[in-house]
Amino acid sequence: MEGLLAGNEDAVRQLYARYARPIFTLGLRLLGSAEAAEELTQDVFLAAWRKAARFDPARGRLSTWLMTIAHNLAVDRLRRDTGVTKPHLVLVDEVPETLSADEDEPLMERDAAIRALESLSDAEKRLLARAYFGGLTAREIAQDDGIPLGTVKTRLRTALIKVRRANEDKEWP
């Protein structure tokens, strides 16, 4: 991170080599075009450089920090472009069950993520995906499904805690 903070090109390249692909992938899924995903990826690395002094490894992993920046920037862009939070993607298909055979260099993070998501039921995966990829708030999900808001919040929390526990034993950077 010191290298990134200093604008060190090698540090930027190292981060790029490791995280550009999942960031670009997330941008493509959320924003729907390669052009928008490319802009998002650039913005994420620039934001990471600007915020590098505030990154605290005691508060979370670098990979999580970068992906949170990416997701927040993408959601902000969607809100700015549409004026409202709108669902953009569907849904459970976005959560792959297995590594595909043609991935010559699967990321360690992806392997661990897929294993962690195996702790969820299909209904929990769908619920989290509707919020994370679809941009639906708990209130919107409650209205769509005709169930109490408190129930949706509880289910979201329960699902995230399951993933968190499944992640606890993983050795992510």
Binding site: A6, R54, T64, H71, P96, A113, I114, V163
Partner: protein, 265 residues
């Protein structure tokens, strides 16, 4: 909204997923600044939510994207040809200032403020304290005679206006022929109603009345404080020596000017 740990924790899953409404997100993030317990839970839930992003089947990135990013970071970090050591020094100064300001100064000033009954004295003290913070940070990082001459740094206090909510602050500018100019503004002690007047914006003015935007304050910490850093890619800050902080209604709440640099008396 009443911000309690119970209320905040109810909202943390949506914060982690990124779908919390902006107003609620601001409230929660303000709470997280001082509540370690909720902050820990937010971090863990955020990590869980990010798992979804990493589980996506990766797609190839476009050719040349890496070089574009390196070029953008290079451009922002320093002009082409700038010695790397100097860029590092500049970035380290900013990092040190941000760290000092966010870790120690706000808390120190919150305790100090209680000992001053008079608002003007309190504001003056806050401004002086911020100046000392800047000076110490720069002196620690850039010994005299190194790459960034001290005379390129300019400091000044910010004082409350009659229309404002009290408080104070300070501004640091780098005005350099060799590096991207930047301004950093620290505010603190804005009154309890200040959060209702967000977002604040920082602007710089020159003698001709020309205005440069120098950033926005979208949230305040528990002490009514915030810091704003803005780097100017294509603008020389020479002459922009008046600083104003305006609330959401355009009312100037803090104002001040560049008075001296760290090597001054």
């Amino acid at each position: 909204m009443a911000v309690t740990c119970l209320g905040v924790r109810e909202l943390l899953p949506e914060l982690a997923i990124g779908v919390l409404a902006p107003a609620e997100r601001d409230e929660v993030e303000r709470h997280l600044r001082w509540c370690a317990g909720c902050r820990k839970e937010a971090s863990e839930l955020g990590q869980a939510a990010a798992t979804f992003a990493f589980a996506l089947a990766p797609v190839p990135v476009p050719n040349g994207l890496g070089e574009k990013i390196v070029e953008r970071v290079r451009h922002v970090a320093g002009r082409p040809g700038t010695p790397r050591r100097a860029r590092t020094t500049a970035a380290s100064i900013v990092a040190a200032m941000v760290a000092v300001a966010s870790l120690g100064w706000a808390a120190a000033m919150a305790g100090r403020a209680e000992r001053f009954e008079d608002r003007a004295n309190r504001a003056e003290q806050q401004g002086a304290e911020a100046l000392e913070t800047f000076v110490r940070a720069i002196q620690n990082v850039v010994p005299p005679g190194q790459d960034l001459p001290e005379e390129q740094f300019h400091l000044g206090p910010l004082a409350p206006t009659a229309e404002g909510q009290g408080g104070g602050g300070a501004v640091l500018q780098l005005v350099s022929p060799n590096f991207l100019d930047f301004s950093m503004v620290i505010v603190n002690g804005l009154g309890p109603q200040a959060a209702n007047n967000l977002p604040y914006r920082v602007q710089l003015l020159n003698a001709a009345g020309q205005v440069l935007r120098a950033g926005r304050i979208t949230e305040l910490d528990a002490d009514g404080g915030a810091e704003v850093f803005h780097q100017f890619a294509n603008k020389d800050l020479s002459g922009y020596s008046t600083v104003q902080v305006l609330d959401a209604d355009g009312v100037v709440v803090l104002t001040g000017g560049i008075e001296r640099n760290p090597s001054g008396p």
